[in-house]
């Protein structure tokens, strides 16, 4: 367990698929206790069959997840959630369609026991370019994309391959720091959004959230790392564009034997002290799109973080 609760922001304009994604995640939480805070006009958009109980603006969901709505005041909602002392593995915040992720990130920085994990922004492949040109909402949509770690390019089945290529190129230019994942019905593996649960070395293919095959092919890379490393330098290398990573999680052994936990989401990284029970060799699990993950760049990054002892 880490000391603070990891938080993932799920943003994007109206109709991009935020609610669909949240329902996917709740349905396939696989034992993770997710808490979802939703900021939108209207009833909590949770599929009825997932709901176990309702209490005011809070819904309990099978498998230990909860979902609640907040009006205009995210921090007040987080403080209330904290007061409930729920056991939470990961917090998801579904922002309103006009919210700027960056300003929510700033708000979150005020709460000491919350750690930002990543910013996922959904984009509707059919409409995103038109949205970005809208005379009223264009700058808001562009600012949402610019602050994404991962852009989930949704509804790719509704556009031609040529259009998909064009919109992907446009996104890469418009939001150069974001990794773009194509998806249908917001269907991507849970691990991409909330990270890997444990770090058992395995080369298993990621299991899809719902029955059908993912639009994109993913690849995981699991590594054991023996010599001590500098986790900050490793983070620098793994967040570089050429590594092609969507996510990585690792326990990095420092020179003094202490472990650090390393979380990477796209080009964002967080290094923090690892739990006491971590022992053995250092290890790292990386996930990327099969056509993007760059094994040699990743190995180079790990190599570069080797600590050469002073003697």
């Amino acid at each position: 367990m880490r000391g603070s609760i990891p938080v993932t922001l799920i943003g994007g304009y109206l109709g991009a698929g935020k609610t669909t994604l949240v329902n996917h995640l709740l349905r396939n939480a696989n034992g993770r206790r997710l808490a979802v805070l939703v900021n939108e006009f209207g009833e909590l958009p949770v599929d009825a069959d997932l709901i176990v109980a309702r209490e005011g603006n809070l819904i309990s969901i099978s498998g230990g997840c909860i979902c609640c709505s907040f009006g205009s005041d995210l921090l007040a909602a987080l403080m209330q959630l904290k007061d409930r002392n729920e056991a939470i593995d990961h917090l998801l915040i579904e922002t309103s369609g006009v919210a700027l992720p960056e300003s929510i990130v700033q708000s979150l920085s005020l709460l000491p026991d919350i750690a930002l994990d990543g910013v996922i922004v959904l984009a509707d492949a059919e409409t995103i370019e038109a949205r970005a040109r809208d005379r009223y909402m264009g700058d808001t949509v562009l600012a949402q994309l610019a602050h994404a770690d991962i852009i989930l390019l949704n509804k790719v089945d509704l556009v031609s391959p040529e259009r998909l290529g064009a919109v992907s190129r446009w996104l890469n230019e418009t939001a150069p720091r974001a990794r773009v994942i194509p998806a249908r019905k917001a269907d991507i593996p849970l691990e991409i959004i909330v990270g890997q649960h444990s770090l058992r070395p395995s080369d298993k293919k990621l299991t899809p959230l719902s029955g059908h095959r993912h639009t994109a092919e993913y690849e995981t890379l699991s590594l054991e790392i023996n010599a001590p490393r500098d986790p900050e330098r490793q983070a620098d290398g793994l967040t570089r564009a050429d590594a092609g990573l969507l996510r990585a999680k690792g326990f990095v052994r420092r020179l003094d034997g202490a472990f650090a936990t390393l979380h990477v989401v796209g080009q964002r990284a967080l290094v923090e002290p690892a739990p006491d029970w971590i022992e053995g060799p250092g290890r790292l699990v990386c996930i990327g799109l099969a056509d993007q993950i760059n094994r040699s760049a990743i190995l180079t990054a790990i190599e570069a973080s080797l600590i050469v002892s002073a003697s």
């Binding site: 006009f41 921090l75 300003s103 920085s109 009223y136």
Partner: protein, 545 residues
């Protein structure tokens, strides 16, 4: 029983009969205004000479305030300008940080429990030669007790060290644009914006109070109305949960409750469909003194907070454009559903881009649900230009402008936020009237003090706190201003057939004045002395309220 009130003068606001000396009232309604002889024809009556040396106007209508004003007075007033509390005490403005500290220290000495928070409000350090208040200033009041002061704008709070400690914010490494740090790397105690204020609020007695009120606060608000000649006041953004509605129905129904409150349900936390449904149900609960059944939408932020959405070329100081608080699709759905159901919607827009979005969206919605006399109203709408006023007229919209802003923050708008040209056209009352847009003007109390005659003075003179006349061409006449704070505001609330003028069949709602606002001169309009009100035929003297 018929009562005929004799007055020195009655300014009726009824264009067919503008002046009178007597008004006859039966069961809280006006039978007529005219001469004594004309009114005796109604039958057996008594004559009441209480107002024989007073001037009567229609009860003033505040078109945009918040009943939470009544709650604020539980806190220590720290504003720069003199302000009257609901009990009639005039609190002198505090002119320096030293005076703020002294006033808080006096309040501190009266508190028994050493852990109880001390709360202040309406601080405006803009007037303290830009010396910012720090936690050390407030630590001089008390180091043991948490202290917080809300600024006049409602967007910034100052706290002491103890409050920061309790909120877990007395730490290094905070990196947030709303939290300035001192040389020691710790917060200075100035907390800007909702993010920065929220964690502190519960510790300093300032839970998100602006929208909410309670029984005592509602009664205090109504007492303040009496002092300001107000008989009808809009409470412009209330979530109106069922317990609050029940409380408001009960309190406003009390025999001596002296005002009519129009409370709008703010569009938040529910879908457009649920919102309109709920507001229709609320409308059915309306009583004479509590009117429900309208919607308020917040479209953008504030100009002084740089969160209003401005059209190009944007902010004068180069600040990035502000924030949308609702998406166009959601706005449109609310408009369409409300038009279909005959529910009025008031939309908060400050920046001209937000105003444009509302105009565009309503134009589309009206194509689907043509609705003559919808009276959708733009609230604040401070930066609207002439073309936008023309569109308001074409679309059948009303506007409720905010001239008080000129007095309190006009100098800052001129120098910083929108620059000289647009500062002069802010709250362009003359342009609105010239284009035939039905208009109200407002205080947004507690943001600025409740008082329609002061608001009228602001619209007539357009003076800033420094004495600059900001937008000489946009000044309006006293006659127009007086009509605006009575019939004008009543029209935007859909109440102009009931209140807003002294004429046959309307509610017996009067502002009872010592001075004649039509004679005192525009420059002194804000100084008109107010004796009290008559509301629904019941007499309320400010002296004894």
């Amino acid at each position: 029983m018929i009562t005929i009130y004799q007055a020195r003068k009655i300014v009726t606001m009824n264009p067919s009969r503008p002046l009178a000396t007597h008004v006859a009232v039966r069961d809280g309604r006006i039978l007529g205004a005219g001469s004594f002889d004309e009114l005796t024809g109604w039958g057996k009556h008594k004559v009441d000479r209480t107002f024989a040396d007073k001037v009567l106007m229609p009860g003033l209508v505040e078109g945009h305030s918040h009943v939470a004003e009544g709650v604020q007075w539980r806190f220590v007033y720290c504003g720069y300008f003199d302000r009257t509390d609901p009990d009639g005490k005039v609190w002198p403005g505090v002119k320096s940080i030293e005076e703020v500290v002294a006033r808080l220290s006096a309040a501190n000495a009266r508190l028994y429990d050493s852990t109880q928070p001390l709360t202040g409000w309406s601080l405006d350090p803009i007037y303290f030669h830009n010396r910012r208040m720090t936690r050390q200033d407030l630590d001089r009041v008390s180091a043991a007790r948490p202290i917080g002061i809300m600024h006049a704008s409602g967007h910034i709070m100052n706290v002491n060290t103890r409050a920061l400690e309790l909120a877990g914010m007395l730490r290094k490494g905070i990196n947030h644009p709303g939290i300035p740090l001192g040389d020691d790397g710790l917060p200075t105690g100035e907390m800007k914006g909702p993010d920065a204020m929220t964690p502190l609020g519960p510790h300093v007695g300032l839970d998100r109070g602006l929208l909410s009120t309670d029984e005592l606060g509602l009664r205090a608000f109504a007492r303040l109305c009496v002092r300001k000649g107000v008989t009808t006041a809009a409470d412009l953004a209330n979530l109106l949960p069922q317990p609050a509605v029940e409380m408001m129905l009960r309190v406003s129904g009390e025999q001596q409750f002296p005002a009519r409150i129009v409370s709008l349900r703010v569009a938040r936390e529910v879908s457009p469909a649920e919102l309109v449904e709920r507001v229709i149900e609320l409308g059915k609960l309306s009583t004479d003194r509590l009117r429900l059944g309208m919607i308020k939408i917040v479209v953008d932020g504030s100009i002084q907070g740089f969160s209003a959405r401005l059209k190009s070329p944007g902010y004068y100081n180069g600040a990035p454009n502000g924030l949308w608080y609702i998406a166009p699709e959601q706005l449109r759905e609310i408009f369409e559903r409300a038009l279909a159901a005959g529910v009025r919607v008031h939309s908060h827009t400050n920046g001209d881009e937000a105003t444009e979005l509302v105009l565009d969206t309503l134009a589309l919605a009206l194509r689907k649900h043509s609705s003559p006399d919808h009276r959708f109203t733009l609230q604040h709408c401070q930066l609207a230009n002439a073309a936008q006023f023309r569109r308001m007229r074409a679309l059948g919209m009303c506007v409720n402008l905010f001239p008080n802003h000129h007095f309190y923050w006009g100098d800052q708008h001129y120098a910083l936020t929108v620059g000289p040209e647009r500062a002069e056209r802010m709250n362009a009352c003359a342009t609105a009237l010239a284009n035939g847009v039905p208009m109200a003007i407002h205080s947004d109390a507690p943001v600025t003090p409740l008082g329609p005659l002061f608001t009228a003075w602001c619209a007539v003179n357009r003076k800033t706190a420094s004495g600059r006349v900001l937008g000489i061409e946009e000044r309006i006449s006293v006659t127009d201003a007086l009509r605006t704070i009575t019939l004008g505001a009543a029209y935007t609330l859909g109440l102009d057939s009931e209140v807003g003028s002294i004429e046959c069949g309307k509610a017996a709602d009067f502002a009872v004045l010592e001075d004649d606002p039509t004679e005192i001169g525009g420059e002194k309009l804000g100084d008109v002395r107010i004796w009290g009100t008559v509301q629904g035929g019941r007499i309320f003297a400010a002296e004894t309220i």
